[in-house]
Structures are given as structure tokens and as C-alpha cells.
């Protein structure tokens, strides 16, 4: 019997391998649970390359796709950096391309899908991005585009899936696609998401992101799963050309007296407890130690409540709301995105100012209606917590207000990216509201450590 390959729940089973052939097939392990040789599905490309190299005849029952043509119904005139990125990727047909938000990552992917001509699965982190990719793919390809996620299960030759849904389906569908595209691919090294790449036999892989760096240092895993970083360009290199020039204004907001009093009381209760319990946040496990210690006594529980209260007051003080209203009035006639750290604050602003709020609670039809109304100017202001951090294309937005946020550099860069898509004559303006003399100052310092907030592209106020 010939050697044969079979796809099995995210792995490749190899049958009929003779002893002398095994020396050429690296990455195989004997699985005594099933009495067969097995390898992770991602090893398929290497396995087939080795089989061909050593002229070993084999039956490929693993691959359920073949070469196709995907003609473009609309011509693409790539920008120079898109051409460079495409050429850099095509040499290995694997790799990560780093481009800032608004630089045209989706169009680059469309070019490469057409060029590679294999059934393609595109991974996206959110339902909104799934809709956005679907719209672009429909614009360029004359075939039905499949969707997987948000209650839709329609697999086609080109399919867009959320990472979550792809993860559920990869044990069954990991043999059906030849090209995997990972949008916002910095998500890929996550403990679970990596299996969407590991469990698929797709030999060609394209990772797209504006920020491949991860706080846990797992970029290495990303490059193992997707291929090496093959092209990179930054916001400051494209600002004023492909991206709009921008200005960042940090406004320190003085709390109202009653908020300040409450903040000081809560802050003291919280920091006194830290001192008493000898907890320093320089220690790597300090957060879990803090959580444990605060649950052990009444005093601890009070300290935890105080921690939440001082955080809430610094992130969502009434003074910030007053200033925000002033900014809304100052920018009448422009398109403004307002970002908050959590849904509670987003809805509080929405209820107070009677404005649309977009969070994960917003159902798909209303979400699409909000974005359309924002794009065409019917709704000039849109409030969101996290769901617009990534990917969503709102080129009309020119003013961003960060009312509150985490200390994440990536989130801060992504939020800036939302207002940078170029438009003739557009100048983007990002406000950061920081409660004066609070811990929020340090959070803001941490998240600004990126060349987008320091570089020469930043306009002077």
C-alpha cells in the first residue's frame, strides 16, 4: 500500500509509511492511542515538500482543495508599499505584513487571494470586521463570499470567519482551505486561537496587523504559525501621504470637589491596604495576590470596593463629562468617535447626551445602521467602549476622544488609527482626557510608549 495522508481533527494521520521512508519525514510521531503516525495539521506543507523531495509516492486524502482562479471584477492600482509588501510575501507565500490602520491591508489581501488562487479562510476578531471584509470581498470578487460566525454558517471558496468560530470548525474544516489570512493577527498566539492555525493544513498563510508586538512576548509563536515578518511600515512613515496628518491633545481634567473628596478617601483606603498587606505591583503575581488578600477579610473587601471606586472616579468623573460636552459642541459639524474603558461609562454618556452607543450588546442590524449613519453624516457622534478599537473602517471620523482606556499601547495606537484614514484636506485630532493628579496619569504615560505618539508625524499644537 502507498503511503497516504489523512486529515483527522486538526492533525494529519500518515498510513503505510515504511521504515526507510520515516527518516525523511520529520515531525511525525507514533500515536499508540490510534496505532498510526500523526503530525499537527500545520506540518502538512513540510510533510508534502519532504515526500516530493525524496520522490516518495503518496495518496493525499488530507487535502480537500485544489487550485482555482479568482478573477477580480474591479482593477486594483496598488500603492507602492502594497506592491512591495505583496512581493515580499509571495516569495515564501507565508509571513506577517505590518501596516498601520488605514493603509489598505484588506486590499493587499484581496490582491494576494487572487494571485494565489486557493480556497481562502479569512480570520477576523469581531463580527463588525466580518461584515466589513464581506463588503470589500464582494466588491472585488464575482463569487459568493462565505461567512462563519455571528450565527451564520455558510462556507464558500472564500470565507470570512471570526477567530472564535474558526476555532470551533478547524477540527472538521482544517482540510478545506489552501490560504489562511489572519487579520489583526496579533490575536493568533492566544492560548486557544493558535489552534486555528495549528489545526489547518493550509500551506499558504498571511498575517496582517498594525502592531505585532505582544505584552507577553509571544510574537515568536505568531511567526511560527504564520511565517516570518516579511514587510513592515509605520504610521509616521505614511502620515500626510496615505494617512491623514494628526494632532494629539492631552487634557488634564480637574475633578469636581465632591468627586475629588470621594476619590481621595477611596484612594487612601486602597493604598493603606496595599501598604498593610505589603503588596507591591512591581511583583509579577501582585494582582492575583491583591485579589486573594482582599477576599480574606472585611477590611480587604472594603479596600477592593475602594479600589474600584477610585478607578471609576478617575476614569469617569463628572468633570470629564462636562468637558466632553464642550468638545462635542466645539466640533459641531465634524465626525467624532468617543472611546471609553467600559460599557457602563459608554452608556452613561449615551443616556446623558442622547447619543448612539456601539458595544458588544448592539445587535448586528443596529450596529450596521449606526455605522452607516455615522459614515454618511446622519449621526455625527458615535460612542464606543472597545468594539471599534480594531479594524473597523470609518474614514470620515476626524476627531477622537479617549475618555478612558486601559494601559495597553496596542489599544491606544488602534484608537488613534480609527481617525487616520486619509481624506482630502483631512487633519485628525485625538483628545486624551486624563483626570488630574490621579493614577490615570501613569496609565496614560504607559500606553503612549509608541512611535505614533512620539514620532515626527505628530503635528505641533
Amino acid at each position: 500500500m502507498n503511503l497516504s495522508l489523512q486529515f483527522d481533527k486538526g492533525t494529519i494521520l500518515v498510513y503505510g509509511a515504511e521504515k526507510h521512508q520515516l527518516q525523511f519525514l520529520n515531525g511525525l510521531s507514533w500515536d499508540e492511542r490510534t496505532n498510526s503516525f500523526r503530525a499537527p495539521a500545520a506540518e502538512y506543507r513540510k510533510l508534502v515538500t519532504d515526500l516530493r523531495k525524496h520522490k516518495i509516492t503518496y495518496n493525499d486524502n488530507a487535502r480537500k482543495f485544489s487550485a482555482l482562479t479568482f478573477p477580480l471584477k474591479k482593477k486594483i492600482t496598488p500603492r507602492s508599499f502594497q506592491t512591495e509588501a505583496a512581493e515580499a510575501w509571495i516569495s515564501e507565500k507565508r509571513g506577517v505584513v505590518t501596516l498601520p490602520t488605514g493603509a489598505g491591508k484588506t486590499i493587499l489581501a484581496v490582491m494576494l487571494i487572487a494571485r494565489i488562487g486557493r480556497p481562502t479562510l479569512i480570520h477576523v476578531p469581531t463580527i463588525d470586521l466580518m461584515g466589513q471584509w464581506n463588503a470589500v470581498l464582494n466588491e472585488y470578487f464575482d463569487i459568493k463570499i462565505g461567512l462563519l460566525g455571528g450565527g451564520v454558517n455558510d462556507i464558500q471558496l472564500i470565507t470570512v470567519a471570526t477567530y472564535d468560530s474558526a476555532l470551533l470548525h478547524v477540527p472538521y474544516r482544517g482540510d478545506q482551505f489552501g490560504l489562511l489570512v489572519f487579520d489583526e493577527c496579533h490575536h493568533l498566539p492566544g492560548e486557544q486561537f493558535k489552534f486555528t492555525a495549528l489545526g489547518s493544513i493550509a500551506p499558504f498563510r498571511l498575517g496582517l496587523t498594525a502592531t505585532p508586538e505582544r505584552s507577553d512576548g509571544k510574537e515568536k509563536v505568531l511567526y511560527e504559525l504564520c511565517g516570518p515578518l516579511c514587510y513592515e511600515t509605520h504610521i509616521d512613515e505614511l502620515s500626510g501621504k496615505t494617512l491623514a496628518p494628526y494632532l494629539v491633545k492631552t487634557i488634564e481634567v480637574e475633578m469636581l470637589p465632591e468627586d475629588r473628596e470621594q476619590y481621595e478617601i477611596s484612594r487612601k483606603c486602597y493604598t493603606d491596604f496595599l501598604g498593610k498587606a505589603r503588596i507591591s505591583f512591581k511583583h509579577p503575581h501582585s494582582w492575583s495576590i491583591f485579589l486573594r488578600r482582599t477576599s480574606e477579610s472585611q477590611e480587604g473587601r472594603e479596600a477592593f470596593k475602594a479600589y474600584l471606586m477610585q478607578k471609576k472616579l478617575s476614569q469617569a468623573s463628572e468633570a470629564k463629562e462636562e468637558l466632553l460636552w464642550k468638545l462635542i459642541l466645539n466640533h459641531k459639524g465634524e465626525r467624532m468617535l468617543i472611546f471609553t474603558q467600559d460599557n457602563e461609562m459608554a452608556y452613561r454618556i449615551g443616556r446623558k447626551f442622547y447619543l448612539p452607543v456601539l458595544t458588544h450588546h448592539t445587535k448586528l442590524p443596529e450596529r450596521e445602521a449606526f455605522l452607516t449613519a455615522f459614515r454618511n453624516g446622519e449621526y455625527p457622534v458615535l460612542i464606543t467602549s472597545k468594539v471599534l478599537n480594531e479594524g473597523i473602517d470609518v474614514p470620515e471620523a476626524n476627531v477622537g476622544v479617549i475618555v478612558s482606556g486601559s494601559g495597553s499601547i496596542r489599544e491606544h495606537v488602534q484608537r488613534l488609527g480609527r481617525i487616520l484614514r486619509a481624506r482630502p484636506g483631512k487633519q485628525a485630532l485625538l483628545y486624551e482626557l486624563v483626570s488630574k493628579d490621579t493614577g490615570e496619569y501613569f496609565t496614560n504615560q504607559r500606553r503612549r510608549q509608541h512611535r505614533a505618539y512620539e514620532g515626527p508625524a505628530l503635528l505641533q499644537d
Partner: protein, 421 residues
């Protein structure tokens, strides 16, 4: 399942032990009873009210916060909420946002909400104008604008549970919460019957797990099962944690069992969890031994009509094949003479197990079972080639389209009977 913050456990000397609650203690039974009564009667109420009332119930008892919230979480998991947005709220929002945009545009140059005037004043006049355009007070408008968020969602359904069963479910969820963070488990089964073992392996397959089985050769029965997933042999992973957690209630059906798991609850540290049947947890999964698929009912009827010498029943025994391989055939065919032969069926999703089985059967000296193979598997060239070359299949196997028929079965039964003469 319980979230990490609701897990209660002890760690000591590299071991981890879930903190179980006493399922017979009156205080726990009372709180579980009151909570499940509250949820049972909640259909039609909104989520916010239910959660507030549940909080009040919990405040009336002196159990740990995590225990109370854990019980509440398990009940919420059994509750179905109406998450569809109501048309009237959607319409209100659309109208409000159009009005707010129009109002801002209209006054873009008039200075009515000018930034030079006091922000408070301009906001108040804006809110009044907006409320006036809808015809309600500004406070009511703020309240109604997002009145389809989770706290306002109505309870549609609740899967009832008794207080005692909830306490068992809680203890089971404590174990499951730790198994979610485990890489593999080892189960020792000193007293399992073939029938309960068969059910366990069904759950194993259902949860897409694999097992390395060690045998007690003297008693010719399985002793240990080391359970993980297909990719586990290549990397240490908690990927199958959810599968292992879902599989655990099936272990609880075994008469005697011991379970070992390595749990990574903290980032860089693992702990050993050891449990056995003395933990007394009752499984919330029902046993499905009694289920008979439609195809088999039909085959049974055909046999009674056309081959009255044979009867068909579910198989409760396993067949020991070469090496350490076990086979749990689906059915048993019994001849009037008392001779019995198991029947194993392979459907279109069974190509890998079928290839394995054919290799094992070709090594057998005797014929331990008959195999029926769905024709759709012939599309797989590996399967087609293997069937063509398999001497076992040519004598004791047959193909079927939708349902096995007596016409296909009869020649194989005759061959098998002859082989037993």
C-alpha cells in the same frame, strides 16, 4: 461552568483540592432550594430584578460570597433570556438620534448650545429640547433609551433543578472548573462493567478525546485510561480542557473510579488533583444506553420477518482485539443455536477509525465481529483501497447505503456460522 473567580480550592505541597460543599448540610440545602425556587418562578421577570432578588436571598445566608455567586451562576446558565431588541426601543433610539443630530445641526451656527455659554446650561437646554421632541421627561428618556440592555431582558425559560441536584451540580462544576485548566487526565476504573465502560468510551468519542488504555491482563479488562486530545502528543496544551471538563460527568457514572489531573491554575505552576468516587458527586448527565437508532429498529423488523433464526440487540460487551485495542461494537446478532456475533457499523465520518479497525481485523486469527460500512466511505481512496485488499472484509464485511439490510447481512452471517463449525 464556573468562572475562575468562583472556583474554591486549596493548594498544598503541589496538590490542589476543590472545596466541595456538603450536599446534605441543611444550610446549603436551604439556600439551594430558595434560589432554585426563585429562578423557577422568574419566567416573565426581567434579568435585573431577578439578579437583585437573588442577591437578597444570598444576603440572608451566611455562606461564602463565592459559593453563593457560584450557585447563582449555575442557575443563570440554566436560564434563557429574551435577548432580541424590542421594536419600540429600536424605533425610539432611531428617532432620538435623528432628532439629536438634527438639533445639533440646526443650532450649529445659532449659538443655542454654544460652547461659550456654561456647559451645564447648554446641556440642560439641549436635554429639555430633546425630551420635548419625544414628548416625555428627560429622565424618562434617559431611562428608556437603552432599555433593552441585559438588565432589562425578560426570562423566557428556566430548566428546573432541585436544591440537592444544584449542590451536586456545584461540586461537579468545581471539578470541571479545574479540569478546564488541565492538559490531560488519568482515570483508573477498577470495577467498571463492559456496559458502563462502553458508555464512557462513547462520551470520550463524543467529546473528541483520545485515550491510551492500559489493561489488567489477568482480568482481561481496561484498568487505566490516559485521556487527552489529538494534538496533545505534540505540545502541552489546555486546548482539550473544555472537552475534559465536559467528559468528567461521564466518569461519575462509573461504579468505582480514581482520577488524576495536572492543573495549571496559576501561570507558571501546576498542581495535581486527585479525586475518587468517595467525593460523592452525582452526575447531572443522563445515561443514554437505552437509545436505539431508527436504522436499527428497521433492521430488527426485517430480521424478524426474513431471518427469524436471528435476533438483534444492543451490545453491552467489548471485543478485545490485537495488542491493547478494544472494540465496543454497536449491536449483537444472536442465532437460534445460541451463537452470538457482534456487529459494528461505520458511517461516513468514521474513515480513520475504519482504517484502524481493518488493520486490526486483518491480524485476527478468528472472526470476532461483522462490520457494516456505509457506501459513502468508498469516496475516500484510502478506504476503497483498504477494503479491496482486506481479506477480513471480503469474508465478514458488507456495504450498505442508508440502512443495513438482511440481503447484505445474510451471506456474511452464513460465512461466520460456517467459520464457527
Amino acid at each position: 461552568m464556573l468562572t475562575k473567580d468562583l472556583l474554591c480550592f486549596r493548594t498544598k505541597s503541589g496538590k490542589i483540592q476543590p472545596k466541595f460543599i456538603d450536599t446534605t448540610a441543611p444550610k446549603f440545602l436551604k439556600i439551594a432550594f430558595e434560589l432554585s425556587e426563585l429562578f423557577s418562578g422568574s419566567v416573565g421577570e426581567d434579568r435585573g430584578t431577578l439578579e437583585n432578588r437573588s442577591k437578597q436571598v444570598l444576603e440572608g445566608f451566611t455562606v461564602g460570597v463565592a459559593v453563593g455567586r457560584g450557585l447563582e451562576k449555575l442557575l443563570i446558565d440554566r436560564t434563557e433570556f429574551d435577548t432580541e431588541s424590542k421594536n419600540e426601543v429600536l424605533e425610539l433610539r432611531e428617532k432620538v438620534f435623528r432628532n439629536s443630530s438634527a438639533l445639533m445641526r440646526k443650532h450649529e451656527h445659532s449659538g443655542a448650545y454654544d460652547s461659550d455659554s456654561s456647559e451645564k446650561d447648554s446641556l440642560e437646554s439641549y436635554r429639555k429640547a430633546m425630551a420635548g421632541s419625544i414628548g416625555i421627561t428627560s429622565e424618562n428618556l434617559s431611562h428608556q433609551l437603552y432599555s433593552d440592555l441585559p438588565p432589562f431582558q425578560k426570562v423566557m425559560k428556566f430548566r428546573k433543578i432541585t436544591g440537592e441536584a444544584l449542590l451536586h451540580r456545584y461540586n461537579c462544576a468545581q471539578v470541571q472548573g479545574l479540569l478546564l485548566r488541565s492538559e490531560n487526565i488519568t482515570v483508573k476504573l477498577p470495577a467498571s462493567s463492559a456496559a458502563s465502560m462502553r458508555q464512557l468510551l462513547k462520551y470520550l468519542r463524543f467529546n473528541k478525546l483520545l485515550a491510551k488504555i492500559s489493561f489488567d491482563h489477568k482480568k482481561r479488562k481496561p484498568l487505566f485510561m490516559q485521556i487527552d486530545g489529538p494534538l496533545s502528543m505534540f505540545l502541552q496544551t489546555q486546548k482539550y480542557g473544555l472537552n475534559l471538563a465536559n467528559f468528567f460527568p461521564a466518569v461519575l457514572h462509573q461504579p468505582e473510579w480514581e482520577l488524576d489531573a495536572t492543573v495549571r491554575i496559576h501561570k507558571n505552576r501546576t498542581y495535581i488533583m486527585q479525586l475518587d468516587q468517595s467525593c460523592g458527586i452525582r452526575s447531572h448527565l443522563s445515561q443514554f444506553l437505552a437509545y436505539v437508532p431508527e436504522e436499527i429498529k428497521k433492521l430488527s423488523q426485517q430480521l424478524a420477518k426474513k431471518l427469524p433464526d436471528w435476533t438483534l440487540s444492543s451490545s453491552n460487551d467489548f471485543v478485545h482485539l490485537s495488542g491493547e485495542n478494544l472494540c465496543f461494537p454497536d449491536y449483537l446478532l444472536k442465532h437460534i443455536s445460541g451463537k452470538k456475533v457482534p456487529l459494528e457499523l461505520f458511517h461516513n465520518w468514521h474513515s480513520a477509525p475504519l482504517l484502524n479497525r481493518l488493520s486490526q481485523l486483518d491480524e485476527q486469527k478468528e472472526a470476532p465481529l461483522l462490520i457494516g460500512i456505509n457506501r459513502s466511505l468508498l469516496k475516500n481512496t484510502d478506504v476503497a483501497n483498504k477494503l479491496e485488499s482486506s481479506s477480513y472484509f471480503s469474508r465478514f464485511g458488507f456495504l450498505f447505503r442508508d440502512v443495513p439490510t438482511t440481503t447484505m447481512l445474510l451471506p456474511r452471517l452464513e460465512t461466520w456460522l460456517r467459520s464457527r463449525l
